[in-house]
Structures are given as structure tokens and as C-alpha cells.
């Protein structure tokens, strides 16, 4: 059976418990097979053998992935489904030519999803933890599913590449389940 690749973008080992383990648990409890790789350790064989990829988020200051953004160049030619969460969404945006912008949001926020995004529609309470975001509104390759100026949920127009700025592992697990099933 094909496995889902969970990508850990945290450099600090202790952040694994907060940003990767909750995703791992959602997949395990719902009967999905998975394996985990740190972003620097992903091999071509990992990309070949996985069925889908989830790129997890990270803490407010553990942002080494920005410096190492070239490591994610494989995303440009990747044809399988990908879901980027928070930092993972920023990675998708940067790789596809977007710019990083400053915006601090911590805690619960209400966001309006104007089109169905992995089962998400209408006003929803979501958990934010970021100091940056990528503005997808001017990126013609991507469709934006939320109303606010800061894009909350996006999908590449011709690839199954999804991004969410919020953390669905906190109270909105159905987004992750709808992506992996």
C-alpha cells in the first residue's frame, strides 16, 4: 500500500511533538500508512514511493526552511497531491514565485471560505500561529478559496497542490482527512 509522506520542516527536535506528531496521530487513528522525513533528508525514492505529501508547519522562529527554500525545488515537477500547512504553505508559495510578507496572527480567528476547500465552506474558526504569509492573490497559477486579504486556503489550478495558512490539526482535522482519503 502506498504511504503518505509527512515532511518535518522543524530544525528544533522538540518541535516535532507540536507540529508533526499531531498530523502523524490523525493519520494513524484514521488508518492511513505514512512515513516521516526531515525536509533536508528527502530522497527521490521517497517522492517515488509516497502517494501524497503533507508538509507540516513549524514554530514562530524555527524558519530555517526559508533560507533552505531551494531544497523544495522538487515541488515544481511533482505531480502527486501535496498539502502545505502554515510554513508548508509558505514553502509552496515561495517555490511558485510568491513573496513572503509579514503578518502576526496567533490564536483563534474567524475566516470566511467562499468556495468549498477540502470540505471547508462558510465561516470557520481556525487556529493561527505565524509571523509571515505568502500573498497568493496575485499568483495566477493559484486559486484562492478564502475571503480575507491574507490567503487562508489555496490550490494550484492545474496540480493537486493545496495550502492552508491555519493549522487544521487544531480543531479542524477534517481538512487533513479529506486531503488524505
Amino acid at each position: 500500500m502506498k504511504k503518505i509522506l509527512i515532511v518535518n520542516i522543524c530544525k528544533e527536535k522538540l518541535h516535532y511533538y507540536e507540529f508533526v506528531k499531531p498530523i502523524e496521530e490523525i493519520l494513524r487513528i484514521n488508518g492511513f500508512n505514512y512515513f516521516i522525513r526531515n525536509y533536508e533528508d528527502i530522497k527521490n525514492n521517497d517522492l517515488r514511493k509516497c502517494s501524497k505529501i503533507i508538509i507540516c508547519g513549524t514554530s514562530l522562529f524555527d524558519n530555517y526552511f526559508i533560507k533552505d527554500i531551494k531544497t523544495f525545488k522538487w515541488l515544481l515537477g511533482f505531480e502527486k497531491p501535496v498539502l502545505g500547512i502554515c510554513g508548508g504553505m509558505q514553502i509552496i508559495g515561495l517555490i511558485f514565485g510568491g513573496k513572503l510578507k509579514k503578518k502576526k496572527e496567533i490564536g483563534f480567528y474567524n475566516e470566511n471560505f467562499i468556495k468549498n476547500f477540502l470540505g471547508f465552506f462558510g465561516e470557520k474558526e481556525v487556529y493561527h500561529l505565524h509571523n509571515y504569509y505568502v500573498g497568493f492573490n496575485n499568483m495566477t497559477d493559484f486559486e484562492v478559496f478564502s475571503e480575507s486579504k491574507v490567503s487562508q486556503a489555496v490550490k494550484h489550478k492545474s496540480k493537486n497542490i493545496y495550502g492552508v495558512l491555519f493549522h487544521p490539526e487544531v480543531r479542524n482535522v477534517e481538512v487533513i482527512i479529506n486531503f488524505v482519503k
Binding site: E12, K13, L14, H15, Y17, E18, K21, P22, E25, S59, L60, F61, D62, K104, I106, G107, F108, Y127, L129, N131, E169, V170
Partner: protein, 222 residues
Amino acid sequence: MKLGILFSGGKDSTYACYLAKNEGYEIACLISIFSENKESYMFHTPNINKVKKQAKTMNLPLIVVKTRGNKESEILDLEKAVKIALKKYNIGGIVSGTINSVYQSSRIQKICNKLKIECFNPLWQKDQVELLNELIKNKFDVIISGISAYPLDKSFLGRKIDKKFIEEIIKLNNKYKINPAGEGGEYESFVINCPLFKRKLNVDGYDDFGRENAWIREIKLK
């Protein structure tokens, strides 16, 4: 990286400290907030003064800041405590035992963000029954020091978190939605012994206060 632990003496903050140490981080200090408000949403209150004995047996310095415990002042007092840890021990981050509370975690995250230090929440979103089982597996000796939800009653005070307790709390979760790890404030705990302690704390006696489904056990240590 040197870390400060937001420490209440209960199972969650102690286990978070244990995980940080196991991952190779240097624990520089414990940080405790003594709240005068027994209804605090942020800070654990029963037996908080006993953290001094826990810190001693862990051979760790303890930073204590008192707070009147109203909603805004307790955040300022927590920030004050973290600033002391930053100045005195040059910590690069703090660790909290928050499991599910966005109210608690987002306030701690904001303080760390302001002070430009890392915030670690190693129990975040953890399955609460799994947490209780890990405590037993890792030889944590934990007792119940307070209860505040129906149908928990005085008979729970002093009970050890063991297999029997877990079986019972799962049943209470199914029937009454009691959070198995007490994350909703249903119960408070106190760590008597764990791998971080040089020796077990000896309970010399106790006084129980409360009524019906709200009780606190003030523990006396030798």
C-alpha cells in the same frame, strides 16, 4: 539550547520537562507563577508552593513570580517571570505542558514572540489517554490533588494515576465528557516522583478543603 520550564508541579508540566530533557535540551530553570486567584484559567493553584521541594529534588533553580491572578495581570506577571529567566539564565525558549487549551497556549506564544524566544509545547494536541499511559510507562508517580467537576468527588483526592484510574477516567469521559487528562480543569495533579527527581517526595499528611464536586488537597511534605 537552554530552556526554562513553565512549571506547576503537576503531571503535564513535569512530563513536558521530561520530554525536553530526553531530547537533549539543557533545562536551565523552572518558572512558577503563584496565583492568588483559585479560579485562574492560566495557572494551576493547589499545592503550587510545593514546587520549591520539587525544584530542589530536580536540582534546578526556580523562579517564582506572584500574581493577583486576574485575566490581564497574570499575563504581565508571566512575562515578567520569563524575562527574569531570560536575563538570569539566557534561555533560548520556554516549555509548557499545554495540551489543548488555545487560551493558554496563544498567550504563552505571544509572550515568547514578543521576547523573540522559542515556545515549545511538546504535549500539544496529544491524546490524553496516551499521555496518562506514558506517565505510568515512564515511572511517574502522580496523585490527584484537586477536583472540580461532576461526578468527581472527594474520594478522588490522593488517588494515584494508575491503570485502574485510567480505566475509570475513560468511562467518565464516555459518560460525562470529563477530559481524561483533566485539561478542562476537571482535576489537578501533583508529581511525587519521576525520573527527573533525585528522590521521591514524602507526603507527611494533608488537609482537604471543599464540598460536593469541588475539593482541594493541600499536601504536607516532609
